[in-house]
Amino acid sequence: MSALEHIKSRVLETGVLVVGGGLAGAFAALKAKEAGSDNVMLVTKGKLGKDSISTFGAGVFRATFPEDDKEADFRKYALSKSYGAGLLYHEEWLNIFLDEDYERILDMERWGVKWEKTADGKFERKAARRKILMCMFHGPQMMKAMAKKVRTSDIEVVENTVITDLLTKNGKPGERVMGAVGFNGRTGEFNAFKAKATIMAAGGCGFKARFAGHRFQTGEAYAAAYRVQAELGQFEMGEILHTTSTQFDTQGLNMFLALGGKFVNSRGERFMPDYDPELEDYSSMPGVSEAAAMEVRGGRGPIYLDMTHFTPEDVQKLRTVVPIPTKIMERAGVMVGDKIMKKMEWAPAFYGTIAMCGGILTNTKCETSLPGFYACGDAMARYGGVYAFPGAAISGARAGRFAAEYARDSEEPEIDEGQVERLKKFAFAPSEREIGIEPDHIIIELLEALVPYEVTIISRGDRLEKAIREVERIRDEEVPLLYATDPHYLRLANETKSMVLVAEMYLRSRLLRKDSRTSCVREDYPYTDNINWLKWTRLKKENGKMKLWTVDIPVDKYKIKPERERYLYPVFEAAKKRGIEWG
């Protein structure tokens, strides 16, 4: 433990502090600069450009172009029964999204991101999941270009630093946020950041489960916001229930489907046409996961993705747009030369809050419930249509702009020394113990409680409660015993703490919702209830406990309204049709 005996400390000051260096954070920092902020600092957990899930984006980015039919796109995102956060859309955000996403693509191009173009120089767009048109970029080149732009724009970059908590006025929760604290995961140096405005862009929580590229995203954003009593919500809406090979992790499903990949069960049958007659294999990710889970329930597992019919041109497109998945398939013997040799066993990859789910609650200026505190990207509570890369770009840009405005006129921030000391002790506690439990032990237990399909794909109240009891046990008996032998393990220990907290938020929110929607499906409440359940869930820390409640969605004020009806959630209809029993 000698590495941690002498903890070096330092205090850094800035105007706008951006926590997180993915697409959302990069946009926030750059737009804060554009809005005239002199002092912008970006703190990130690893190396800028490499350490967020944005690096692993498999090449597709949705955008509504000026010549598109905006209202048709609005309806596509908002009113479909099988996606769009199950009709819980936020009208103001969705309109902003449709208005501003094209501008963000142009920003990125200006900043050096390469987009696929047609022969006559226009943006090439391909229809993928949900038959929505997507622009294509070149994998990791996107964040490489964004990182370079950030570094050359007079933005101070602090790397290898995990932010563990927020600083508030007088050191009290529920007050104006005046910065953050964290430590360097390689050297163990403790850092306190004093800032006029703080933007939380530190991503979501993937729980270190299956799927590539998100194992660094462990929910510090939500944990820090929760502890200062900011409002959060919508954690049951984890719409991106991704799927991947059971043998290895690979992104790129959007591209695989765009080129004609199909899902089959153990009998070799395509099943998606029954579960989603409109979109078939292009169904939303939760649609595919729910269908696959139901097929397994019916004894027809495992599930496969079949791309054996791809042409050499299709395979070449994969090489250009998704180079990492291509390499993975070659190493695993699935792709040989310009041919896909075999179908791949496929399964849902529990994806937590990555890309689409709840998070820290914001208005459309990305302001949270605490002054001086903003959230964007996966750290923010997202809505139907407003998520993943376009959500990160648009919300990041807005957070940067409005935080810069706030910082210009706000009072000087002050650090409360007592709070800094307390938070330092809290972050370093695992390194003070002589013996204890290592992070991996808890991580596996957590995943065993979250990943089974009867808990988080087709759930039921009693199983959710069982899982919550298990998370509470881990929280009360094991987390206090976490120990770390060096700064790397200290970071893992803090990540584990965050994950346990987010697991509780996730499961309790699912238990609260008593109907079935995209990615929040319950056998005991198998109906989508748009009469009683057009609501958003909310949560916050109060009196030391996690308090949850719901708010009504103001649909009566919406221009385009969902039908006030109640219907059996589609996966249960399809199960009936396919002779599979549930309940």
Partner: protein, 88 residues
């Protein structure tokens, strides 16, 4: 899964691999200035180290390094461990 090999003969000690890895798997040995695999279990097989190495000294396999549960048991066609008697 994960990083399997760093060829120290090909290695030019540029340090890019240690810098690039988002999971802090690779560190540079202070004396020899060569990279070593410090935290293998955290490797997520993202391939960034292999792609960024300028002399192709690194080899990564796609199989997983740590145990991660599947949503269902492969061999019990309609159950997950959650449904087994006595589970939790």
């Amino acid at each position: 899964m994960g990083i399997r090999k760093i060829d120290l003969v090909l290695c030019t000690e540029c340090g890019i691999c240690a810098d690039t890895c988002p999971m802090d798997v690779i560190r540079m040995d202070e004396e020899t200035n060569k990279p070593f695999i410090a935290y293998l279990r955290d490797c997520q097989s993202c391939f960034l180290c292999e792609m960024d190495c300028p002399v192709e000294a690194i080899y990564v396999t796609p199989e997983r390094e740590r145990r991660i549960p599947l949503p269902w048991c492969r061999y019990i066609a309609h159950k997950s461990i959650f449904s087994l008697p006595g589970m939790m």
